[in-house]
């Protein structure tokens, strides 16, 4: 039996229409936030090849089916797709008419490209004064680096805390996957909604400039606090120091367990004492030596080798559960297979099952947060141009927005 998502009436963004002109993760994640909470998001794709996210490869040289790329499937739930050639007059005209009937547009072309297509914010906002136009780019729509080329690692180098990440005597280390893109996209979504809220109150739209670099520079992953520190004291954040802001009285980091890794965060004396009691439960001499010590000295290596041996002898889940029972922040590293079967997330309904005509039945990540009339998986990601005829017909009939 096909597994069709259960659709329940109204969602918070029911009645909003957002046009997605983006072709990569940041823009597609920004519009996904609207689609998943009820907006009609129409994705404008290049005929033939479609969005870049249809061609993402996890393994070098791999060429996944553009209709079943995991990245595209994840980022484009609940959207409609139209295939439109933006280099043709008809295509531009169609998109203009669509945008005239929409509340927001999100784009991530190179700065200036939208204007060259005849779809610049001034043109779009003239025919639709309440429109919010959100522009995502690596370095913003102005300034000497506006036209610089960037990939994810270039963005992390320019904006993220990369200079302070990794070992002191080795290369700076970027964060994995496409994480920086999601941060930029989520922020672009927040900015767009702020613009929509403003338009709702005042009747006036806006053009929003999201510089990926500036999003990352203002971030809570310590980059912003490192910048304040540099302004206050004239020093850079160090690489290879864990929890630099917290000073020497704490220790944090990964440790090797018998079957994987755990992450421990000892940030105060209380956690420290609990840890000493846990790993020294059967060793009175150890407890006597290390309890109530705010800082270690020459005995640090001895302590560390004791701790490492204790971790290495035990499975990660057992360590995590013992640590939690003792109220110590220490968690296991899980992989995708373990996450998939995880009783906590499964039990909370964090995954939603749905069928896709090409990819088949899959579990998708569900609500990023929970609220009344919030997240629903109404439909899986669209096939390229699946809704071209439908949307064109709606526009030809000049259907008033729902």
């Amino acid at each position: 039996m096909p597994h069709a998502p259960e659709v329940n009436g109204r969602q918070v963004f029911t009645g909003l229409r957002v046009v997605d002109l983006s072709r990569w993760v940041a823009g597609e994640y920004a519009t996904k936030l609207f689609a998943d909470f009820g907006a009609d998001v129409v994705k404008v794709e290049k005929p033939g090849s479609g969005s870049r996210s249809r061609h993402w490869a996890l393994v070098p040289g791999e060429q996944p089916d553009p209709e079943a790329n995991p990245l595209f499937l994840h980022l484009n739930t609940n959207k409609r797709s139209i295939a439109v050639d933006l280099h043709s007059a008809e295509g531009v005209e169609l998109v203009k008419r669509l945008i005239a009937r929409s509340d927001a547009v999100i784009e991530s072309f190179r700065p200036g490209h939208l204007e060259r297509l005849g779809l610049g914010p001034d043109v779009l906002r003239e025919s639709n004064p309440r429109l919010v136009v959100t522009r995502i780019s690596p370095f913003g729509q102005s300034g000497p680096y506006r036209d610089r080329e960037a990939t994810g690692i270039v963005l992390q180098a320019a904006g993220g805390p990369m200079n302070a990440t990794g070992d002191a005597h080795r290369a700076p280390q970027r964060k994995p996957g496409l994480l920086e893109q999601y941060t930029i996209g989520r922020t672009a979504g927040e900015a767009t909604l702020a613009g929509l809220y403003h338009a709702r109150r005042t009747g006036t739209g806006s053009t929003i400039d999201v510089s990926g670099q500036e999003v990352l520079l203002s971030s809570a992953d310590r980059r912003a606090s490192y910048l304040v520190t540099a302004a206050y004291s004239g020093v850079n954040a160090p690489r290879g120091v864990r929890s630099a802001h917290r000073g020497q009285s704490t220790f944090t980091g990964p440790f090797r367990a018998a079957d994987g890794f755990v992450m421990i965060y000892i940030t105060n004396q209380e956690f420290w004492n609990r840890l000493i009691r846990l790993i020294g439960a059967d060793d009175e001499a150890f407890r006597a030596k290390f309890l109530d010590r705010p800082q270690l000295g020459d005995d640090w290596p001895a302590f560390m080798s004791y701790l490492k041996a204790w971790f290495a002898a035990r499975p990660k889940i057992q360590i995590m559960e013992a640590a939690e029972a003792a109220r110590i922040p220490c968690t296991a590293y899980l992989q995708m297979d373990e996450l998939y079967d995880h009783p906590h997330f499964r039990g909370r309904g964090a995954f939603v099952t749905a069928d896709h005509p090409v990819a088949g039945r899959l579990d998708y990540f569900g609500a990023p947060w929970r609220m009344r009339d919030g997240f629903q998986l109404r439909r899986t990601a669209p096939r390229l141009g699946e809704h071209t005829a439908e949307v064109t017909a709606e526009l030809e009939m000049s259907v008033v927005r729902p």
Binding site: A157, L196, H198, T207, I208, G247, L362, R372
Partner: protein, 438 residues
């Protein structure tokens, strides 16, 4: 108090957040013009800095002393720490000890006239204080209560202790993090959960406010931070189901690109270079040029190394050797020259920017990104700017921080209507103070 033209003008937010992701969230609401009032007890350390810190005491605290201007926490360390001041722009601060009857009463009065409450305490803390969301929504049905428990408010692990990196580990991010081909414990620090929560919380609160315009009702918003951050690796979760494989530790490399971080000629100065396609490689080869290429080639051991990266298949097969060649070329040049020459050829490249280099950066200067602000407890310094900007409405960037208790009179007398006598009594009993004791 706020500019009426801002998107959230007239929206009042009670801010009970601590540490990183929560305060980062309320900062975004303040940017939009909401009146964000931090409620802080004078018997608690709610700004990550104890009142007891001294200049002498932090002298041996390693790098962390730099969080205070010129390494000096005195006087008023809680007004002078970068751990608070990075997110404190636009916020107000009122002293309220929530576990006392007087503080509890004031909090309820404030919540009754507010639109939003944000908190990221351990599950159950608000309930113990008699401020659980059910109580508050009964008091003020238009209130939006945004709670940020890392693993949610329900479920077998909902009470687990942990910080951002703990939950990064649990959802699978840490397992992907590390130096290329090495185990994941080779990674540096990764606070991605803290990075991902603020915009989610702000979006969620805006969505709830949007909904309130239609329904007239507030409600609970539960931002389980782990479930939010896991969205950022959703492709790997689907790929596991479709292709039965797990993500690998790739370091600075990427499956679709030839890229890495390379040392430039200056001391501890690094650049990143990405080659996306054949055009990029040809452009890169053009920049390196024939003579230099053979010099680099003699280092790499292959004079014709630039010929070995022409196609995607070549770049995969020869990835290590090509990156050695790029490394040898970069090692002889200043970072500015590497970046300028490659960007001129439209090859993605950039310096791994240190904080001091960013403070001196001409692009950010031209965009007016850093904001110079003055506060009597700290002095005049530059602060990180907004994450985005709009043509159509302004964002707020007023006072850089509230001193502890700086807005006591405004909150108690103007907002809550306390008369002088009641207020002075609370001051005399040290329940309202302009200093933190903890």
């Amino acid at each position: 108090m706020t500019d009426q033209s801002l998107p959230l003008a007239g929206i009042r937010v009670v801010d009970l957040t601590v540490v990183w992701s929560g305060p980062g969230s309320t900062a975004l609401l303040g940017d939009l013009g909401a009146e964000v009032i931090r409620v802080e007890g004078n018997n608690r350390v709610s700004r990550q800095a104890s009142a007891k810190l001294t200049n002498a005491g932090v002298a041996n605290a390693g790098w962390s002393r730099n969080s205070y201007p010129d390494g000096k926490p005195e006087p008023r360390p809680y007004d002078r720490t970068a751990l608070f001041n990075w997110h404190a722009r636009n916020k107000l601060a009122a002293c309220m000890n929530l576990e006392t009857p007087e503080g509890h009463e004031a909090a309820l009065k404030l919540i009754a006239i507010s639109d939003v409450l944000v908190e990221n305490n351990t599950n159950g803390v608000l309930e113990k204080l008699g401020l659980g969301h059910e109580t508050l929504l009964e008091l003020n049905p238009r209130l939006i209560v945004a709670r940020m428990p890392p693993l949610g408010m329900t479920g077998p692990m909902s009470n687990y202790l942990g910080y951002g990196p703990n939950f990064n580990s649990l959802v699978g991010i840490a397992a992907m993090d590390g130096y290329e081909g090495e185990p994941p414990d080779s990674a540096g620090e990764n606070y991605h959960m803290d990075e991902s929560a603020p915009a989610a919380l702000a979006f969620a609160v805006l969505a709830a406010l949007w909904d309130r315009e239609a329904t007239g009702r507030g409600g609970l918003v539960e931002v389980a931070q782990a479930e939010n951050v896991m969205q950022d690796i959703g492709e790997f979760f689907l790929d596991f189901q479709m292709n039965h494989r797990l993500p690998q530790v790739l370091g600075n490399t990427d499956p679709g690109l030839l890229q890495d971080a390379f040392r430039a000629a200056e001391d501890d100065r690094w650049v990143v270079v990405s080659i996306r396609d054949d055009r990029d490689w040809a452009a890169f080869a053009g920049v390196v040029g024939g003579v230099v290429s053979s010099v680099v080639g003699s280092v790499v051991g292959e004079a014709d190394w630039l010929d070995r990266g022409r196609t995607a298949a070549d770049r995969r097969t020869n990835s290590r050797a090509l990156r050695d060649g790029i490394a040898a070329w970069c090692a002889g040049l200043p970072s500015d020259e590497i970046v300028a020459r490659l960007q001129e050829a439209r090859v993605p490249a950039g310096e791994v920017m240190s904080e001091l280099r960013l403070l001196a950066d001409r692009h950010l200067a031209e965009r007016g990104w850093f904001k110079e602000r003055t506060h009597p407890a700290v002095g005049t310094y530059r602060y990180p700017g907004h994450p985005w900007r709009a043509d159509g409405f302004d964002l707020a960037y007023g006072r850089p921080l509230p001193g502890f208790g700086q807005d006591n009179e405004y909150v108690y007398k103007q907002l809550l209507g306390y008369d002088d006598e009641t207020y002075d009594d609370l001051v005399a009993r040290r329940l309202i103070t302009e200093e933190q004791f903890a």
